[in-house]
Symmetry: C2
Subunit: 478 residues, 2 copies
Amino acid sequence: MKHTKIKELLSGTNALQEVNVKGWVRTFRNKQFIAVNDGSTINNIQCVVDFENTPDELLKRITTGAAISVIGTLVESKGSGQNYEVQVSKIEILGDSDPEKYPMQPKKHSLEFLRENAHLRIRTNAFGAIMRVRSVLAFAVHQYFQERGFAYVNTPIITGSDAEGAGEMFQVTSLPLDGSAPRNEDGTINYKEDFFAKHTNLTVSGQLEGEAYAMALGQIYTFGPTFRAENSNTSRHLAEFWMIEPEVAFCDLDGNMDLAEDFIKYVVRYAVEKCPDDLKFLESRLLEEEKSKPAAERSEMALLEKLNFVLDNNFKRVSYTEAIDILKASKPNKNKKFQYIIDEWGADLQSEHERFLVEKHFKCPVILFDYPAKIKAFYMRLNEDGKTVRAMDILFPGIGEIVGGSQREERYDVLLEKMQALGIDEKELYWYLDTRKFGSAVHSGFGLGFERLVLFVTGMTNIRDVIPFPRTPQNAEF
Amino acid sequence: MKHTKIKELLSGTNALQEVNVKGWVRTFRNKQFIAVNDGSTINNIQCVVDFENTPDELLKRITTGAAISVIGTLVESKGSGQNYEVQVSKIEILGDSDPEKYPMQPKKHSLEFLRENAHLRIRTNAFGAIMRVRSVLAFAVHQYFQERGFAYVNTPIITGSDAEGAGEMFQVTSLPLDGSAPRNEDGTINYKEDFFAKHTNLTVSGQLEGEAYAMALGQIYTFGPTFRAENSNTSRHLAEFWMIEPEVAFCDLDGNMDLAEDFIKYVVRYAVEKCPDDLKFLESRLLEEEKSKPAAERSEMALLEKLNFVLDNNFKRVSYTEAIDILKASKPNKNKKFQYIIDEWGADLQSEHERFLVEKHFKCPVILFDYPAKIKAFYMRLNEDGKTVRAMDILFPGIGEIVGGSQREERYDVLLEKMQALGIDEKELYWYLDTRKFGSAVHSGFGLGFERLVLFVTGMTNIRDVIPFPRTPQNAEF
């Protein structure tokens, strides 16, 4: 017979019918109560075994992690914690799980232990919940843009350009590393002999290609993997992560900020509505975890309260110049508690400053805009003051920067001059300059690091726990 | 004032109102009729200029490719070909386009010329249509799986495993190529010093990681870039392409074939329903293109007819053994017209054989299943006959293989033996073996090359024309 998903069984639509459950044993109590999970929901279904009429040999094989198929009648449950359970008439072990060897015992494991077992951690409640929420958030991203007429664009992963400047890049090559790679006469590597007949890297951003597409399709977004070869062993950085980059023609920085705020609220609301059980579990997980912290370090709000706070409040929009004034006058700056003291306009903001603004001063998501040109990328539009650019960063409590964006420099001459001043090869980026040479227009876009969004929504604190198989310095397991 | 998308204007909801159009000039006729496109639809809106009261200097700047902003009244059109047009009251040039220099002239360009200008080809009708259809198909993929409770999983792009065996891999490294990379005592490269402290490649498939997730979440799918460092300069191969890989626990090969057929029909139907204008254009483009071909080489069906044929007919399911019998008895085999003559069971099928089966013999999509174990991957489930595996390939007219899948070998001992026989390092894939060691179960999945699907739906014939910036041997431009 066809098996039914546990999510459907728990909704009760099949009550009093004979059903087939297939899933994995989470626990087995008193030779009688099997908690079975099939991944369709965080909730297990209880399967009640008539243990007096079941061979002991079979009962012994009902162990944590075993895959089983159960046939029985779906009835209302007398126990607490679930509405329906299955009165088992037949049970079959599909795949055993030796309790002496199975690493995922029904007890609390450290997150570090689970990271080392990333292929099995998905079998825990927490990672099942995180990855279902991640999946729902990803769909919300697509739905938001598609409903609004944005085209999804797959910008290249392997790029021959290293002018993007967003960070250190990984090289992609088919040449040998042992010194036998073909050489030019001057002794340098002859990349004409490499697969792509040039030096290639993994992309750090699809923005430039996205701009070319926005200047024809009007509104586009990317959602794909991006890479940083930076030795950042922090809880906020991955060498491989997924980024969302919308780009909109005929849109200025204000429109860009409106889009980013509306977009973030949409996807967070979508997850809150679609994943109530998973988020409730993650909320209690977080409460439990924080019990071991000093009171001062605990979150002020529970997870769902925090998510609803973001949905219900406007992001505070603050210019860089205002932010510098606030920081200069702040207690931690005066008391020299900041590692980097803010003493003048033009300083790059560090994580500590961003956190002060968001978590202590404004106590809400903050959009900082109009940064000094010197600390921002070459493609950002220069303001009339000649010293700031139409950049914006969105800062989130506990996460820091979640979005970075800007209105793009649409004036050919200004862009070219900036590239020349920075030594960016205009021949390499001729195609990008072409978008300003032919039918240029005001346009804007931003990048959102998807894992940081997942971090925020799930309440997890280490970015390695919100992507299935994290890639970080010295780690590319699985 | 806020501008309105052309797609909305053409629907007539703003009739008789003052509207603002922003877009790019496609053509300008008789100093009077501007065809403007903003990418929201393949259709242009005609903006009618009062040329007698417009300065000549301005009229001269209304050239193909220029970005303009037009304010005027939306009125019913007297001309043919459109229902609404704009009576212009004000026109502004946002970005000029020098007609002497703009590469995208309003004439027919060769596809090869357009590939060389991939940053501008998106401004043509054909590529606008292709990329909108591609975007809609991508969304249909997500919607299909999400509606059915599949979780979207981002499997790693950079992989430390080279055991997947699906094809040649690109190396990813931060080490220098000039011979100065650190060495082990035996002279080999010391990858402990590389970024990930091991030798890493770009993934050829997310399947193995996907299986680990399916064995917990039940039903998952991936949709991400995959790579082949193969020197295949054909119209069907890319070095970087996007693949969709669902994986389902408690699902056998029959269920897998049902899923694949239902999935393909869903996404094709979705595109047919959502993209009528783009597909109509692509249909006439194809008809036009085929006029230059000999009658025998033209498609038997027009594009939409072909798509509807796939929707309305069951895919023919044929075992490999039956297929071999058909091929052995076929005219081109007997007359030695095949390059590779089929003379015995066990032969690997070539493209010419697949095309014969699909295009000449069955004249419909075909699912071939139960292939010889020897010509298929190690992870496919061995049948009771000991010589065939539960593999399936879906073959499409004009495209060839669009899906490859299988029921996976769920038996630990059988899998291990197969790996050992093929010399696959079991230590490297310990985590994959773990999925069979703990709670193993019947499961199945397949991979669908997204660009081949886009090829089929758009009627294009070269895979380089259905991805924004194609990567092929000796080509990683933009």
